[in-house]
């Protein structure tokens, strides 16, 4: 292992990397989480980050590069404090997602995967348009650092972005209290810094009215699935 290549990453990151690798029966499975880990340190996946992963997993940098460039969540240039992803897939777009993206892009003066402000500084924002974020019942949807801001309008999206630029951290509709992109990338790799913060994050709201619509209607109207038998039935004979 060459000292030079590994120098960009501190001792803690090395320890964490080993921990990630130990989770899997085969080391290479750790590559995606390792790239998230690298991104949490550098704000993007740099050449150094690629070398770091390659050496840990005994792969060539070309092999790691080929993987890193395949996935949209790995960014090649340093990101802002926050990543703002606007869903512009068909359903969100028809409900206003395209307008939201266009307005934010104009306001911030940046395009897809570009950053307004000095990357990493407070209030800097990377903008992107995203594919369906699996929250279509809450369209149009924005994610900030992958936390959901549901049922957006052009106006609410502008207010959100302004607040972020001022260094505020508006609470997502569903998800944990906002942190920043690097903290979230660390979490994706499987690590949290502070157990109290982590516990609060887990407790962050998840149930939008839309999520509970069917269950609520069923409760109001007295509808239910057929009752379970009192005793769990005996398992069938094996054939």
């Amino acid at each position: 292992m060459s000292e030079r290549a590994m120098s960009g990453f501190d001792e803690l990151t090395h320890v964490r990397a080993k921990e990630v690798i130990a989770r899997y029966p085969v080391a290479r499975s750790a590559l995606l989480p390792l790239l998230h880990l690298v991104q949490s340190v550098e704000g993007c996946v740099s050449q150094d980050g690629i070398r770091f992963c390659a050496e840990l997993l005994d792969l060539s940098t070309a092999e790691v590069s080929a993987v890193a460039t395949f996935y949209t969540m790995y960014k090649r240039t340093p990101c802002g404090e926050h990543l703002v992803s606007v869903c512009t897939n068909t359903l969100c777009a028809a409900l206003g997602g395209d307008d939201i993206y266009r307005r934010l892009s104009e306001r911030l003066g940046v395009g897809h995967e570009e950053t307004a402000g000095e990357p990493g500084t407070t209030g800097s924002l990377t903008l992107e348009h995203a594919e369906c974020l699996a929250a279509c019942d809450l369209a149009p949807v924005i994610q900030v650092n992958y936390e959901y801001f549901d049922n957006q309008t052009v106006e609410s999206a502008e207010r959100l972005v302004e607040a972020l630029q001022r260094g505020e951290k508006p609470h997502p509709t569903r998800g944990a209290p906002l942190t920043d992109l690097r903290t979230v990338e660390l979490e994706l790799a499987g690590f949290t810094e502070d157990p109290t913060v982590a516990a609060a994050a887990v407790a962050g709201n998840s149930a939008a009215p839309e999520t509970l619509r069917g269950t609520m209607i069923a409760a109001e109207r007295g509808w239910a699935a057929p009752a379970f038998p009192d005793e769990i039935p005996a398992l069938p004979e094996k054939s």
């Binding site: 989770r23 899997y24 029966p25 290479r28 499975s29 750790a30 590559l31 995606l32 989480p33 790239l35 080929a66 993987v67 395949f70 996935y71 949209t72 969540m73 512009t88 897939n89 068909t90 359903l91 028809a94 409900l95 395209d98 594919e131 369906c132 699996a134 929250a135 279509c136 019942d137 650092n145 992958y146 936390e147 944990a176 979230v184 979490e187 994706l188 499987g190 994050a201 887990v202 962050g204 998840s206 149930a207 839309e210 509970l212 069917g214 269950t215 609520m216 209607i217 069923a218 109207r221 239910a224 699935a225 057929p226 379970f228 769990i232 039935p233 398992l235 004979e237 094996k238 054939s239």
Partner: protein, 440 residues
């Protein structure tokens, strides 16, 4: 007859702290696991077959049969370790059921993983969650930690001698990784590109070992099937499509949301539950199960939304992602947007899909911008014909669905994009496109 809505998978969602072990066990959770671990694995496979459970990830493959394909015994592939991989990559446009499930009730999935792993004799299970699903990942990891602490995961679970490790694995943004073999490559730390089949994952899946890949909703159903029995499960839905199913209603309706009903509910009923069309503007088109399932129109309000019903009417049940669009939406525009999605997500491995989606986008964008030609509709159909059935995986097939079904039901609207005098009112997206003159 069962009730119109039958919350099973969603039954805990409104409970306070629904995601915790405490709530899960208070409401009957982890009882099924005890029964299952006291039985023989083959009995569980039989139970799953008897229940008629079919995969909830889109294709509807019988789950018990899939489990029974895993070779057992001390020889050949049967001697290798077995793996369970949960497909939580939820990315099919419109689909939004697995993410709320993992947020609200992660333990139902974990209990399902324990029972399924025991049934197929797996000691390692990976839950592959799309990376953008941060809060579900967080909830799942917290739940996995609780389950370990309680002795439901790890070595010698409840003194039965059964060992199971579960890893919650975050993806990194690629729709194709939802395709099960691409998912396996991705989980092995590679680019997510589909594998040639055969061999199927059942014999050579993760690390070339026997592997079951199942969807979140499929596996979250398993504890209920154990707790209720196959007969109970079959009191909902139909003979060939039994059980409850989460229908995700989105778009131009008054009350979009998640509605869990016996399989076979119709759009007419779903619309009633969802408060009707938004602002009373009439329905134009809808997808029964995501953008890869051919669209339906108001003609199809009474099609039973189960595997046979949707297929019988010329579409597919898919992921029961019911996306509803009203008359203000241009079909060619919607089709263009979806096609841009498939082009972006095409993994590039095979020519029909890689080149085909590129050309489809070129043509559709040109048409939507008012620069189409007389022959464009035929060219679109021609390109689709060259993709459908000729691509390496089902992404390519799915890419043709919006186009061929859109042209089937709304051909005139495509032709009007070319004609000087549109016969239909210009939907708002097109007015917008002309104003800005820029592709979306």
């Amino acid at each position: 007859m069962s009730d119109i809505l039958t919350p099973v998978l969603t039954s805990r969602w409104a409970q306070e702290n629904s995601w915790t072990l405490e709530t899960y066990e208070r409401t009957g959770g982890y009882r099924a696991m005890r029964t299952a671990l006291a039985g023989h694995p083959d009995q569980l496979i039989q139970l799953c077959k008897d229940s008629g459970l079919r995969g909830r990830g889109g294709a509807g493959f019988p789950t018990g049969m899939k489990w029974s394909f895993i070779p057992q015994g001390g020889e050949g592939a049967g001697a290798k370790p077995k793996y369970l991989v949960i497909n939580a990559d939820e990315g099919e446009p419109g689909t939004c059921k697995d993410i709320p499930t993992m947020m609200a009730d992660p333990h139902s999935l974990i209990e399902g993983c324990i029972i399924t792993s025991y049934a197929i004799r797996a000691n390692f299970c990976a839950i592959y969650v799309r990376g953008e699903a941060l809060h579900p990942i967080r909830r799942l990891r917290a739940a996995v930690a609780e389950a370990y602490a309680q002795g439901y995961l790890g070595t010698d679970i409840l003194g039965t001698g059964f060992d199971l490790e579960i890893v919650v694995h975050a993806g990194a943004g690629a729709y194709i990784c939802g395709e099960e073999t691409a998912l396996l490559d991705s989980l092995e730390g590679r680019r997510g590109q589909p594998r040639l089949k055969p061999p199927f994952p059942a014999t050579a899946g993760l690390y070339a070992s026997p592997t079951v890949v199942n969807n979140v909703e499929t596996i979250a159903s398993v504890p209920y099937i154990v707790a209720g029995g196959a007969e109970w499960f079959r009191t909902m839905g139909s003979e060939k499509s039994p059980g409850p199913k989460i229908y995700s209603v989105s778009g131009h309706v008054e009350r979009p949301g998640q509605y869990e009903a016996p399989m076979g509910i119709t759009l007419r009923t779903l619309l009633e539950l969802a408060g009707g069309m938004k602002d009373g503007i009439p329905l134009k088109f809808w997808t029964p199960g995501g953008s890869s399932t051919p669209m339906f129109t108001a003609e199809h309000l009474d099609v039973p939304l189960d595997f046979e019903g949707a297929a019988g009417a010329g579409s597919m049940l898919g992921t029961t992602a019911v996306q509803v669009f009203n008359e203000t939406v241009s079909v060619p525009w919607a089709v263009m947007k979806w096609t841009e999605f498939y082009k972006h997500e095409s993994c590039g491995k095979c020519t029909p899909c890689r080149e085909g989606t590129y050309w489809l986008v070129q043509i559709l964008e040109r048409m939507v911008h008012g620069e189409g030609t007389e022959s464009d509709v035929e060219t679109l159909l021609d390109v689709c014909d060259n993709i459908l059935g000729r691509s390496f995986c089902a992404l390519g097939d799915g890419a043709t669905s919006p186009i061929t079904s859109g042209i089937k039901y709304f051909r005139q609207e495509f032709l009007d994009l070319i004609a000087e005098q549109p016969a239909v009112a210009r939907p708002e997206q097109l007015a917008d496109v002309e104003l800005t003159g820029a592709p979306a």
